[in-house]
């Protein structure tokens, strides 16, 4: 995995940390990102306590009768002066262009002709827009199969991760037993294990179980990455659910498992969605385990992308096209779902 799973994991871990209301406990100790301050909103996502909308003061309303220039109502660290704000917007625009450019260049390149792709000197925009690179990349043997493998592996790994993490996280947060505390610490340590260290023993275990080169084996390997973080994420979502909720359900005659299934799970469904997306992306983008554990049959797309380089010399055009096809759906999906996820997290923290 090396960096494979990290970005998205960390991003959601951060969001979960930011969304968590004030409470103590091991989970918050691990993920604590300054949510201790007492004024913190218990809402979702890093939205700030909003300053009031700018109030337009008319001379009459200002009382003194003297027209007063009123700046944007700023609070705390927000920039107040209009000129400063304009300047900051320009800085932001520049930063966004710089930050977005590499991926846009990848996209532009994928629409060039294969020869223009490696033209010297390179141009930013294609001289002639064509889908040739896409046709070459997708028409190549094994590429479409690798997409199916990627989807399969990621789906199995996501389901497995959730099935294991949801009960575990619930057990940790609701009952706060010493064993639960030890367990979540052990999960934290798991996060430090370099995948290159367990990849080979894991691969040979799978081979002796007769699972060599199957999506199942790879998805189990991916679950070793996503499970610890799923447990932490789900723990922080469960922490936000008030105890009274299940107590009321148990009084009404629900068993503990029934209360979890029928009352608590629906409340944290937003959190489950977040966790599922992160688990899916961790598997979707993973490379090292895929490299070590798959051959022809269950190869995922990242491995195929990497293989383009050695197998076909400098086929940059096809590589950029395949990379674009592989990345764009998940970028769009995550960005589109972003609002839903945030809304889900807010709903997840309802008061009973």
């Amino acid at each position: 995995m090396s960096t494979a799973e990290t970005p998205i994991n960390d991003r959601f871990a951060a969001e979960a940390a930011a969304s968590r209301p004030r409470h103590s406990g091991v989970v918050s100790a691990i993920l604590a990102t300054g949510t201790k301050s007492s004024g913190a909103t218990a809402g979702a996502a890093p939205t700030r306590a909003l300053p009031a909308e700018p109030v337009l003061l008319t001379p009459a309303a200002s009382g003194t009768g003297r027209p007063r220039r009123r700046n944007h109502h700023a609070e705390g660290l927000e920039a107040g002066k209009r000129s400063t704000r304009i300047l900051l917007w320009i800085v932001l625009a520049a930063a966004m262009v710089l930050y977005g450019f590499p991926f846009l260049y990848l996209l532009f390149t994928s629409f060039k002709t294969p020869i223009d792709t490696i033209a010297v000197p390179p141009t930013i925009l294609p001289k002639e827009w064509t889908l040739e690179n896409y046709a070459n990349a997708l028409g190549r043997n094994g590429v479409l199969a690798s997409f199916i493998n990627s989807v399969q592996t990621a789906v199995i790994s996501t389901v497995l991760s959730l099935a294991l993490a949801i009960p575990a996280a619930y057990g940790i947060t609701r009952y706060k037993t010493p064993s639960g505390r030890v367990f979540i610490m052990a999960a934290l340590v798991t996060r430090m294990v370099p995948p290159v260290a367990i990849g080979i023993p894991l691969a040979s275990m799978m081979a002796s179980a007769g699972l060599a080169d199957t999506p199942i084996a790879l998805s189990i390997a991916h679950t070793t990455i996503s499970l610890p973080l799923s447990i932490w994420l789900m723990s922080s979502f469960f922490e936000a659910v008030p105890n009274d909720l299940e107590e009321a359900a148990t009084v009404d005659g629900c068993s503990r498992l029934g209360a979890l299934w029928r009352v608590v799970i629906p409340v944290v469904s937003g959190g489950i969605a977040v966790t599922a997306i992160f688990a899916f992306l961790a598997s979707w983008n993973e490379f090292l385990f895929a490299l070590l554990m798959t051959a022809i049959r269950s190869q995922t797309t990242p491995v195929v992308i990497a293989n383009f380089q050695t197998q076909f010399g400098l086929d940059w055009g096809s590589m950029t096209a395949l990379a674009a096809v592989y990345s764009i759906p998940v970028i769009l999906l995550t960005l589109l779902l972003q609002r839903k996820i945030v809304a889900g997290m807010t709903l997840g923290a309802v008061k009973g």
């Binding site: 995995m1 090396s2 960096t3 990290t6 970005p7 960390d10 951060a14 940390a17 990102t33 300054g34 201790k36 004024g39 890093p46 300053p51 700023a74 609070e75 660290l77 927000e78 704000r85 917007w89 932001l92 966004m96 930050y99 977005g100 590499p102 991926f103 260049y105 990848l106 010297v120 390179p122 294991l164 575990a168 057990g171 940790i172 639960g180 367990f183 798991t190 430090m192 370099p194 290159v196 260290a197 367990i198 080979i200 023993p201 894991l202 189990i220 679950t223 070793t224 499970l227 979707w284 983008n285 490379f287 090292l288 070590l292 990242p302 992308i305 950029t320 990379a323 990345s327 960005l335």
Partner: protein, 295 residues
């Protein structure tokens, strides 16, 4: 019969615990066990107990020591730059307030990109001859010729070049975490300091950064661990070259295991690497974070 809550909790945790024991703890145990043997790379080949011989060989090898230093340097560069850029962006977003929300979301996009794709993309930008960066710098008059700097072919700078995709991928994460922390700094505190005449640098270094310390610690530790394990981006850009100048620990272990067929030595290296990571992480948590001593 109703089981006790404690037992019920245990049952809930058992499947996940079992999974981690079988698929993480056991392979780790195998790793440590393998490090004590000289193992033939051929399946079913001889396996001789050699004690700590592999460890002695690891520490005596220049490749291992070199990879250790390179991993440290790489981690430091990545984390330091990400922190500086991430803090800058977080402050910028905070200063712009709510209206920047959409851009905050868009800014997260590299987090969804596979590291292997990011590595490929930057390799394409930095590669000799048809790399765009050299060309643009040449056209801007900064370089005399587009190939003046061999980003990925000059052993002196390659370690920094291969760090670029990693920085590009996860500056967003730093920004996100620091931004979340910034939102929790009470506004009145900043106003009060401003009224006392505090200028921006004082505000940053005497108020904001000290208040953010727990957040910063978490972000640095998490990213430090990940950067120290970097593999995908480096493999696809240089495969550790030229002349091993970008060979970090993950790559060395991988190559020792797969290419040079010495699983025993690779396992010893992996064990040392794992212990070092645990040690550094605990040290960092204890010193920077200092849980419990803040309040």
């Amino acid at each position: 019969m109703r089981i006790s809550d404690r037992r019920f909790a245990l049952y809930l945790m058992a499947p996940a615990a079992l999974f981690l024991a079988v698929f993480v703890a056991y392979p780790l145990f195998r790793l440590v066990a393998d490090s004590l043997f000289k193992i033939s790379p051929i399946a079913g080949g001889p396996r001789d107990f050699v004690g700590l011989d592999n460890y002695v060989r690891a520490f005596a090898s220049e490749a291992f020591v070199g990879a250790g230093w390179r991993t440290l340097a790489y981690t430091f560069v990545v984390v330091a730059l990400e922190f500086a850029l991430g803090l800058g962006m977080a402050l910028l977003f905070t200063a712009l307030g709510r209206k920047s929300e959409v851009w905050r979301t868009v800014f997260l996009y590299p987090l969804m990109i596979a590291p292997i794709v990011a590595g490929l993309l930057w390799k394409f930008l930095m590669i000799d001859n048809f790399g765009l960066i050299g060309t643009l710098l040449h056209q801007a008059g900064i370089l005399q010729n587009p190939n003046q700097i061999g980003w990925l072919s000059d052993p002196g700078i390659v370690l920094f070049s291969v760090a670029v995709p990693d920085i590009w991928l996860t500056t967003s994460f730093m920004c996100l975490v620091l931004f979340a922390g910034l939102q929790n700094i009470p506004g009145d505190l900043i106003e009060a300091a401003r009224l006392d005449g505090a200028k921006a640098p004082t505000l940053l270094f005497s108020i904001i950064l000290p208040l953010l310390r727990p957040v910063i610690a978490v972000a640095l530790v998490v990213r430090g661990i990940d950067a120290a394990r970097a593999f995908d981006t480096i493999l696809i850009q240089t495969n550790g070259g030229p002349q091993s100048a970008s060979e970090t620990m993950s790559l060395l272990i991988y190559r020792t295991m797969i290419r040079f067929g010495d699983p025993g030595l690779a396992s010893a290296m992996g064990t040392i690497y794992l212990l070092a990571m645990l040690g550094v992480a605990f040290f960092a948590v204890a010193t920077i974070w200092r849980p419990g001593k803040d309040n």
